[in-house]
């Protein structure tokens, strides 16, 4: 399966997306500060593609995913889905849109209603979008979905607590698939699972993509998982995309110094491999007052004085490989 470098048809386009959260304080709960969670993010996802979105905690990757679905209202910027501006949509339109865009959450324990049986959890979406005219049709569809994700038909009569983490994640996937979406935002879908179970769920996601022609936005902090599943990968740091490239290209020739450091920090499960590690100093700065200029300049091994002044643009260094750094690439 060779991924096209420049996808013929963009399913999703994100333009200069920003999200600021207010920090309230004082006795009148006035807005005293703002967290720049997403700070001007642009990318597109081609039909049938998997775009990996990686970065460390607090870099804004989950907020980006949720802004796309408008589970969180973006502060500014545009999201285009199949030529329609998602950020301008009203109630009815938005509901129709959510049939095409679904999400799978990280924590399979918290994202399933503990009081509903599995059949009801999966069936809820069918009812909302009026996809099952009769009770019988609904049950048939639920059974079909359970089988698609590798569960048993009789599991529909059980409650979420009766399932293991991996099985619950399958239920979450079945729920997302119920409305036959085109795009699924996978928000850290395997981070809470053990490695042997993680592999099962990744394989399932890949099979489903092939079977239903799905497009994924795959958000994760585990770089090896992202490399495995993605056709292209975008790396985020403090609310901005610092590099975006076809998966293998990014891992073979990282251009941004942050990407390079991030990759070198991943432990390789092979004691015979000895690598030079680029150790980043310190922690990720506070997103309330992100560093001026390039956000990364405070930890960057190749930073020069003007990095603190000028914000680097994302530019195409070679075909399909974009990087936002003044001095690399």
């Amino acid at each position: 399966m060779n991924a096209p470098l420049a996808p013929a048809e963009d399913l999703l386009k994100v333009r200069d997306l920003r999200k600021r959260f207010a920090v309230r304080g004082g006795i009148f709960s006035r807005t005293v500060d703002q967290v720049h969670a997403v700070d001007g993010v642009s990318f597109e996802i081609g039909k049938g593609e998997t775009l990996g979105l990686v970065g460390e905690s607090g870099c804004g990757k989950s907020t980006t995913g949720r802004c796309i679905l408008r589970l969180i209202e973006p502060s500014s910027g545009e999201v285009w889905f199949q030529g329609n501006n998602v950020t301008r949509m009203g109630g009815d339109e938005l509901q129709k849109l959510r049939r095409d865009m679904q999400i799978i959450f990280q924590d399979p324990y918290a994202s399933l209603n503990p009081r509903l049986k599995v059949g009801a959890i999966i069936g809820e979406a069918l009812t909302i979008h009026k996809l099952a005219p009769t009770q019988k049709a609904m049950e048939d569809r639920v059974v079909q979905l359970l089988e698609t994700v590798g569960l048993q038909p009789d599991h529909m009569h059980r409650f979420p607590h009766e399932f293991s983490g991996g099985q619950r994640q399958r239920i979450g996937i079945a729920r997302a698939l119920a409305v036959e979406p085109k795009l699924i935002v996978c928000d850290e879908p395997v981070s809470a699972l053990d490695v042997s179970i993680q592999a099962q769920v990744i394989n399932l996601l890949e099979d489903l993509q092939e079977e239903f022609g799905l497009t994924y936005l795959f958000i994760a902090h585990d770089l090896s998982v992202v490399e495995h599943i993605s056709t292209r990968v975008a790396v985020m740091y403090l609310g901005r995309v610092v590099e975006i490239a076809p998966s293998r290209e990014l891992y073979d020739n990282p251009l941004h110094p942050y990407t390079e450091a991030l990759l070198s920090a991943v432990p390789i499960p092979d004691p015979t491999v000895k690598r030079k590690r680029i150790m980043l100093q310190g922690d990720v700065p506070n997103p309330i007052r992100p560093p001026s200029g390039c956000h990364f300049h405070t930890r960057c091994p190749i930073a020069r004085p003007d990095c603190a002044q000028r914000v680097p643009e994302l530019r195409e260094s070679k075909p399909g490989h974009w990087v936002s750094c003044h001095y690399s690439g």
Binding site: M1, E56, Q200, N203, S224, A261, R277
Partner: protein
């Protein structure tokens, strides 16, 4: 074996629950030599953390109880010791750091107070000297401005910094063995790299042995000399790290190694990940015979009849499988 520090023999730590007995640790043998880093790996619920806590007797009893076995610390069995005697061993001889640096630090005391408490308790020093010692420990673990930071509270530190504080506290009495229970699981990769590097440095400085409990095979490959793989309360394989990764013998170890995607290899995308079917069995009523049999692709009749003992297949490489 003159330089064996810790020698766990046939340890069984069980927990009594309403429905019966959970055999969390069910006959574990494990030894750690002086200055050695030993990895204990396995998935959630395999008993690795209970094994670690058993060594320091940090298990609530009841519901827990030592059903059988010995924990020999430099030849002396820890199981019969009372709390007073255990306190002489804790921190001074064996120290532990936990996965969650936020919940394992006391939020209402400054980190300086907490480290100084450990130092004062074990070394008969004045409060002032102990506080100076605390600052010195913070400096050792590369926390900037240690003189000032000793007066800060845990919430004023980031996750990586808190784990440094934990390490500083654990090493303040220069233990011979450091038990690290998933020390980097809650941290981002770049911070994980910093902490692993720090543990390495500290080991060189203090020469202690480390028992590293983790589920991440990558971390094991980069830090350990020997590895013990646990599954459902039992040791299934034990080997020097190179041998384990080059020639894993137990089907569970093989599955574990093959199910991780690797970024250093170009194959990925096309190849499917190898997964282990099914899930970990309940330890309440564990299956008879080999506990991995239900998920094992090589399972035969004989596997469900008796529990396979650990057999030596190469020097230092032992595996519990009939194959």
């Amino acid at each position: 074996m003159a330089d064996t520090l810790l020698d766990i023999r046939g340890l069984k730590t069980w927990f009594k629950v309403e429905d019966g007995m959970v055999r969390a640790v069910d006959g574990v043998d494990l030894h750690i030599d002086r200055g050695e880093t030993v990895g204990v790996v396995g998935e959630s619920g395999c008993g690795k953390t209970v094994t670690a806590r058993s060594v320091l007797k940090l298990i609530d009893m009841p519901p827990g109880r030592f059903e059988a076995g010995q924990i020999l610390w430099q030849g002396r069995d820890l199981i019969p010791l009372d709390q007073g005697e255990m306190n002489k061993i804790r921190a001074r001889e064996i120290a532990i750091i936990f996965q969650e640096p936020m919940t394992s630090l006391n939020p209402v005391y400054t980190v300086g107070d907490q480290i100084a408490e450990v130092i004062a308790l074990h070394q008969k020093l004045s409060p002032k000297q102990a506080m100076a010692g605390a600052a010195e420990m913070l400096r050792l673990v590369n926390i900037p401005n240690p003189q000032k930071r000793v007066h800060d509270y845990p919430h004023q530190f980031s996750g990586g910094m808190r784990q440094r504080v934990m390490i500083a506290m654990a090493l303040s009495c220069q233990p011979k063995l450091l038990i690290a229970d998933e020390p980097t699981t809650a941290l981002d990769v770049t911070i994980q790299a910093q902490i692993l590097e720090l543990m390495h440095e500290m080991k060189d400085k203090f020469g202690m042995a480390i028992m590293l409990i983790t589920h991440a095979m990558g971390v094991v490959a980069e830090t350990c000399q020997r590895v013990t793989v646990m599954y459902a309360g039992k040791v299934v394989e034990e080997a020097p790290v190179e041998a384990l990764f080059a020639d894993p013998r137990h089907p569970y170890t093989q599955g574990l190694i093959r199910s991780i995607p690797r970024i250093d290899r170009a194959v990925s995308r096309q190849a499917r990940l190898e997964s282990i079917q099914g899930t970990v069995p309940s330890l309440l009523n564990p299956p008879a015979g080999c506990r991995f049999a239900a998920r094992c692709k090589y399972a035969m009749d004989i596997c469900t009849q008796g529990i396979p003992p650990l057999k030596e297949v190469a020097p230092g490489h032992r595996v519990a499988c009939v194959l």
